[in-house]
């Protein structure tokens, strides 16, 4: 167990405690006198319009889904970035640096191919009109 994480744990504990304490205390202290007005959701003083559990447009989900798919692809860039130095060198690194004249564009090329595939997907989505709101 790494000792360095203990402060984080403390912070977590304090945060949870505070939240529970505030809500719990107010419940203990308050007197419950419900009126219709009071039971309305609070919308910055404005009278609420319609149901709070409003249905979102299907378009919202579609765009969200597309976002997720493209977003998650970036996760592949992290290992790529971490390893970029090695990927850009035709021979093993010497002391963290690439020997002169051994620079390779393999790493860059790989990522370009990856991006091209993503781009193809993006173009497809665009062309299909999935990004148009109406």
């Amino acid at each position: 167990m790494d000792r360095n994480y203990i402060p984080v744990l403390f912070l977590l504990g304090i945060a949870v405690l505070t939240a529970v304490a505030i809500i719990g205390l107010s419940h203990l202290v308050m007197r419950s006198r419900p009126t219709p007005v009071k039971q309305q959701p609070y919308e910055s003083g404005m009278p609420p319009l319609g149901d709070a559990r409003e249905r979102f447009s299907i378009k919202f989900y579609m765009v969200a889904m597309l976002f997720i798919v493209f977003d998650i692809e970036t996760v592949f860039m992290i290992p790529w970035a971490a390893y970029y130095r090695q990927l850009s060198c035709a021979v093993p690194l010497v002391g963290g640096a690439c020997p002169a004249g051994q620079i390779s564009f393999f790493g860059l090329g790989e990522m370009l191919v990856f991006m091209a595939i993503l781009l193809a997907g993006f173009v497809y989505v665009w062309k299909k009109g999935a990004l148009q709101w109406d």
Binding site: M1, I58, Y61, M65, L66, I68, V69, D71, I72, E73, V75, F76, P79
Partner: protein, 97 residues
């Protein structure tokens, strides 16, 4: 620590399984499946501490695949909703026998 992580992973996986078996809403069932996948991811991460990066690479792949699956899955659920006006699986049984 490894054992605890694997135990937690198994626990989460089981919760996912129970969710799939007991819930009736297609979306919730799918969320439970996602929970199962992520439980496995936890195993992979924990194991990669023992065996090196392969486990972590696997996690990345799993996440990407799960996202693609989520996109397709939600599209399918929307399609079924258009036909049946419900995503409650108990009402979806045209095909049987």
């Amino acid at each position: 620590m490894l054992v605890e992580a694997l135990a937690l992973s198994a626990l989460l996986f089981t919760i996912g399984v129970v969710g799939v078996l007991t819930r009736r809403n297609a979306i919730i069932i799918f969320m439970c499946v996602e929970l199962m996948l992520n439980a496995v991811n936890l195993s992979f991460v924990a194991l990669s501490k023992l065996y090196g990066a392969a486990g972590q690479v696997f996690v990345v792949f799993t996440m990407a695949v799960a996202a693609a699956e989520a996109a397709v899955g939600l599209a399918i659920i929307i399609a079924i909703f258009r036909h049946q006006r419900t995503v409650n699986l108990q009402n979806i049984n045209l095909l049987k026998g």
